[in-house]
Symmetry: C2
Subunit: 784 residues, 2 copies
């Protein structure tokens, strides 16, 4: 249930009908626009009031020292932090003598709509100033998915019932003051004024500011140009300074007249290119945008999104909230990845400064699996970004005494930025997560050029890492000791099942791809001995299992530990990490987020159905979901073991994470992985999708709250369409060559001219599953 009245339920958009200042920062995140390259938070045009002003450019960061009272070998000395760059969204308005500010005067009406099909954020407000002047402001904003350096705003103001004189100031503002900056005086000094002016210029309706970051040495250019349409009285003036460029429009508007300004904003940034080069790039982008014009850009955006929805839409019938959330999620996932091209997809996308703007394993393990089947080209870009950091990852491996590549736990441009190694560097699974995303993409897309270069490099270097990290013990078992799995309430454990099974897969896939491309492998120094080593390690990987309990042990010895005192833990003591010390969390059986359960999803074939049932029941009882990376995975396995209602409940939690601000931190940016989890819970949960030896297998079963479900997805250049009903599922091919699929273990072929209808498996009797005291997900009820 959407608990805040601010947002209305609508299948194709997110609509805000009143402006609630208490959710302003959350709204700025959910209304954020991005193309993966530029990110604009949903700040009001006039800049104030704001929750958190935010303009982000992917890869623009500042370094800051990481302090340690007791340092250790290999600790990173500095970290990367995303910075708020020049704000190009700002359009201030003076109405007669009063600044337009919704905190004063009277808001007669307010509506904001984020339209998932047009990719536009529009705002419509009627306001009476404190001295009685009434105006209507309509603004529409986009960050272009087609012209990736460009964002644009159509801003128009008109009088309500009496003539008004208006002054519109369209600005570029650098080094905005931010609320709640860091308490560390050193970090604060760096991040409060991150940009050093290099050049400012203005001419006609155009202005450009060029800055650089002091320590990371990045050059950032921001420019704006304008088209104006107003009464004859309209005047314009332009000025620029180090941190401010401003075009001022003045007009006297009679009733029926309006002032309409199209503002084009372009950004360019580089660690290498010269000041003139960056400046000219920005002005060139502006020129292109002006030529396309507002209407042209709106059309391009719509066409781009039509393409996306045609092959990636998920339509949920019967539960309008989930229906909206599913598209809201896909829209934001697309925004984060669409034009990232050569840059990371951070955990928050470009929607907020949370986690310092870092990318984690979330991207490969939650976001890319969705994009693989909905916008596969973005996945190739994302993995090419990882590939571009390979040299840094190899250096890190050398520093850590390992072969191959060790990718960072958290980063913006590739350097390890984690200062707490038990939950950072020790989480070596990120390497296998990247490898898994690579093999999934290769299998689902069949991109040969990618495979023999990027995939081979990434798989081989991660396989080398695993081979040097693990060792064959006296019984011949391949052990991986002292690492941290996904569950951050355990750390530095031996033989984490998730890590070991993912490493096994990594090693096997590396061997397979090396054998598939022998000459490319040879170029990389991979010989048959190395391949044999990888395979031997994979075959003998150690997977701890508790024979007495009949369940897998999340890591060796885990099931011997004391079980957390859930009954003695009150609701306000969650998330536990804010109320209990790590030492206590690590030594007890309490799981922050799906770990063994995630292994059962991603390495499904390694578990038989009895194990899955017993494992799920065991780990459900000790999993507290203090992470947003959990509910979707629990949804998937809940469905598999037969508890489709529990799957539905978890789907609700994943889907509404940000719309309901479940973790109370959406203000810092969206939880992209949880948004991705909406799709995962629907497609891998309700529809039961798994990749099985190069084929897609489904086992659909609808929860009672959902009447029907229509899923479109891409697989090997085909667009597949599933229509799930209560009784049966119809598979059809929207485009592409015939393809084999699997329905409940039955292989069949579907082609464009022949949809196939299959009866759903009957609901098994759901086993008894319970969660820790107070941690049951909210039960999702039928909405009709």
């Amino acid at each position: 249930m959407i608990t805040h009245p601010a947002y209305a339920v609508d299948p194709w958009c997110l609509r805000e009908r009143t402006l609630h200042l208490d959710v302003l920062a959350q709204s700025e995140s959910v209304f954020a626009l991005s193309n993966g390259h530029i990110g604009w938070r949903g700040n009001l045009d006039e800049g104030e009031p704001h929750g958190l002003p935010g303009t982000y450019l992917n890869g623009v960061y500042e370094t800051r020292p990481l302090p340690y009272a007791e340092a250790g070998f290999g600790y990173p000395e500095s970290g990367e932090t995303v910075i708020n760059v020049t704000n190009g969204k700002l359009i201030r308005l003076l109405v007669d003598d009063q600044p337009f500010d919704v905190r004063y005067g009277e808001v007669l009406s307010h509506e904001r709509v984020l339209d998932f099909r047009s990719g536009l954020l529009s705002r419509d407000v009627e306001w009476i100033s404190p001295s009685g002047s009434g105006i209507r402001v309509r603004s529409t904003r986009m960050v272009s998915m087609v012209q990736r350096s460009v964002a644009a705003i159509c801003y128009q103001v008109e009088p309500l019932s009496d003539a008004v004189r208006v002054v519109v100031q369209s600005e570029l503002q650098s080094n905005e003051a931010l609320p709640g900056a860091s308490s560390d005086p050193r970090a604060s000094a760096i991040l409060d004024n991150p940009l050093v002016s290099e050049e400012h210029r203005c001419c006609d309706a155009r202005a450009v500011l060029v800055h650089r970051t002091a320590r990371s040495g990045l050059r950032v250019g921001a420019g704006m140009d304008h088209l104006v349409d107003g009464p004859q009285s309209t005047n314009m003036s332009v000025e620029s300074a180090a941190d401010l460029a401003r075009i001022t429009f003045t007009a006297s508007l009679e009733v029926g007249e309006r002032l309409r300004i199209i503002k084009f904003v372009a950004y360019g940034w580089s660690a290498q290119r010269s000041l003139p080069a960056v400046r000219d790039q920005v002005e060139a982008s502006l020129a292109g945008a002006v030529q396309t014009g507002w209407a042209g850009m709106v059309d391009e955006q719509r066409a781009y999104l039509d393409d996306f929805w045609a092959s990636g839409d998920v339509e949920v019938v019967g539960d309008p909230e989930i229906a909206q959330a599913a598209r809201f999620s896909l829209f934001h996932i697309l925004q984060a990845g669409s034009r990232a091209e050569g840059r990371a997809i951070p955990a928050k996308g470009l929607t907020g400064p949370g986690y310092d703007g870092h990318a984690f394993w979330d991207t490969e393990s939650f976001v890319l699996p969705v994009l693989t089947y909905t916008a596969p080209a973005t996945v190739a870009h994302a993995l090419r970004w990882r590939h571009s950091t390979l040299e840094m990852a190899k250096e890190r491996a050398t520093q850590l005494g390992l072969k191959g590549a060790v990718f960072p736990w958290r980063t913006i441009v590739g350097a390890e930025c984690s200062s707490y190694w038990p939950a950072g560097t020790a989480a070596f699974h990120v390497g296998a997560d990247i490898a898994d995303a690579v093999t999934r993409y290769v299998s689902a897309d069949g991109d040969d050029a990618f495979e023999r270069r990027v995939a081979l490099d990434l798989l081989a270097e991660t396989a080398r890492m695993w081979w040097s990290l693990g060792y064959h013990d006296r019984e011949g078992r391949f052990r991986i000791d002292g690492v941290t799995g996904p569950d951050e309430y355990s750390a530095i454990a031996d033989n984490n099942v998730y890590t070991n099974l993912m490493a096994k897969h990594n090693l096997v896939c590396a061997a397979q791809i090396a054998e598939r491309y022998p000459s490319d492998a040879q170029e990389r120094g991979i010989d048959s001995t190395e391949i044999a080593q990888w395979l031997r390690a994979a075959q003998s990987i150690f997977v701890p299992y508790d024979e007495v309990l009949g369940v897998h042990s999340q890591a060796e010895g885990f099931t011997d530990h004391e079980v957390w005192d859930f009954a003695g833990t009150s609701d306000d003591q969650y998330p536990l990490l804010l109320h209990y010390p790590y030492y206590d969390l690590y030594r007890k059986q309490v799981v922050k987020q799906a770990d063994l359960v995630l292994a059962m999803h991603l390495r499904s074939d390694e578990f038989d159905s009895g194990q899955k049932l017993r494992n799920f029941a065991y780990y459900e009882a000790i999993t507290v979901r203090d992470s947003s990376l959990s509910a979707c995975t629990q949804a998937v396995i809940a469905a598999e073991i037969g508890d489709i209602q529990l799957c539905y409940d978890y789907l609700g939690e994943a889907a509404l994470m940000d719309l309901d601000d479940i973790e109370h931190n959406t203000r810092d940016g969206l939880h992209l992985a949880s948004l991705a989890g909406t799709w995962i819970a629907i497609v891998a949960g309700i529809a039961g999708m798994r990749e099985r030896s190069g084929t897609l297998a489904f086992a659909p079963r609808l929860p009672v709250g959902i009447t029907s479900l229509c899923i479109r997805m891409m697989f090997r250049k085909r667009c597949i369409r599933l229509e799930l009903g209560a009784e049966s599922t119809t598979y059809s091919l929207v485009s592409g060559e015939p393809v084999e699929l699997i329905h409940c273990d039955e292989v069949f072929q579907v082609s464009m001219d022949r949809p196939v209808r299959k009866l759903n498996a009957s609901n098994p009797s759901a086993p008894a599953i319970s969660q820790p005291y107070g941690r049951r997900p909210e039960k999702r009820c039928v909405q009709r």
Copy 2:
């Protein structure tokens, strides 16, 4: 072998015959004087050149913020750091127009002697100034063990062959500039000028400075008074300012004349007492010292030390280096503990700023066992200090979700100052180490008042901690998971054998003392149920054992880990922690310092002789001794399993740690625990001493390099004397009632009138023991 020619071998003193500036800082540590209350590094009287100026007052510290890039619940926010307080050692000298500075002019002769029997540091130097004036300076310095607030210097200067005019400036100097301050600007700002002036005054030959520390709020007073004896021409003037008090003496000295100044220095400090109170306390101490006079103070000091040596001397015959080192060690251990009274004994004593002046488990596990048998009264004081911090330790336990008391890993006045919890807070064994020191002292001294109050509190509150930290698993075993044992190259492990056995002892001893004093126990809320819980936990404590290898596993799973690649580790990669990341050290079989081997010493009865032999062989092969807390323990068990030569080799390493600067950091202060290890290696190693159910048992066996050994020690108000020869050992009682002892499992009685001679056990054939590549201790050869 003493490798640096600076120090000469002498049985009762440490003598420096030439001034080597390259070992100046090390010399300042080894020549440091202290009474456990005040510490004066062995800086030259004139202040320069210096390695590191140092004046420390036990318990005078400043707080500084502990920075974390990623903080966690329960992390300490600030730490305590020892500060260099007002320097009262300073006596500058101007000879004609030249300042006396050994870096200029010519040093004709130089000698410094630290005399272990007189407790005086004397210096004798002949110097020709650059302009040709020759003088002899003789200074003798003491920090009084009898008047604990007082130090004193007898300083005299005389011309060599021509008359000279001298100016002597005796000073109190606060906020001295220190070399090599912290690179953290915040810490540096705090610690560079730690003292804020509150009052300064001077009168006649006396001056007092009173300061306070800015953040920790401690008031520190320092005063000096003088007696002067010189020719009639002698003049004196006095002045004081915020950070400097100075008495200036001028005299023209004919050949045969001399200027002699006795300088008394007193310190007083308090967190609570007013400025006038602290000031008056300092001046009162000065008045007392002046009345005693220099000769009187010298006599007192000698008498104090005569008492100590009469009951605590260890005389080694045949190996003069070890003979000297044994007394050097005992002297410094005594200095650290003698008058600490209500304060901690830090890891470096008061000899340098190393480890921020913190006390660790070293005190209870290495230093107090020596003092228990040589100066037992100091042990009661040290444990009463721990007891005085009990409320803080209880609060820390509450914060950590535990019952009872959790003592800090490192501290000055009782707050946890460790910022890296895996090697700090997780090392819960410190609680059992304190309990062990308590029971050892109680057993060896029989101090009833101490037992029913201090001992009962400390044992019960630590037992409560263990009981809440561990738990009974499904097999009924009492497990202690996720803790760090003594070996700092492993962390957060389950069921560390040392920890579990020490916890067991802690629990049993707590139960015994509670049963012994039922009414005192009742007052503390200890009932029979709780006692039964402690005993049940102790009885079922889990001790992991590797059946296949036939050895104990240092912690559960340890012997399954990969063995460190010792052959691939070069000499310059030690200590490993400076060249390898923690993640790698923790996950492999490599031991920084005796852990399981320490368990075999302290909990000797928990292992049979076959286990001891196999365990020792196994752990020797993977122990690298990157800690100074290791060699002595290895010496003890080497002797027990029959390798007396190896015991001797390790004794050499422990004994010469600081005299040879083996770890290259003696400049920061002495390694008190290693110094204590000299005695431990001799008494528990060569003489084979163990406490066995309230009796002392010995199993003496001399290495070939030592002709004979005479050990005096206190036990239950008796002074026992052992004279070890190659063939036999003679036990005699120097004072006290007859007592039972054990010699090689044979119980016998010794009384003052009847020494007992016993044949030593024959040397068993030494088993083959090897150390990691390159880590064998230096073989100690016969010196004769």
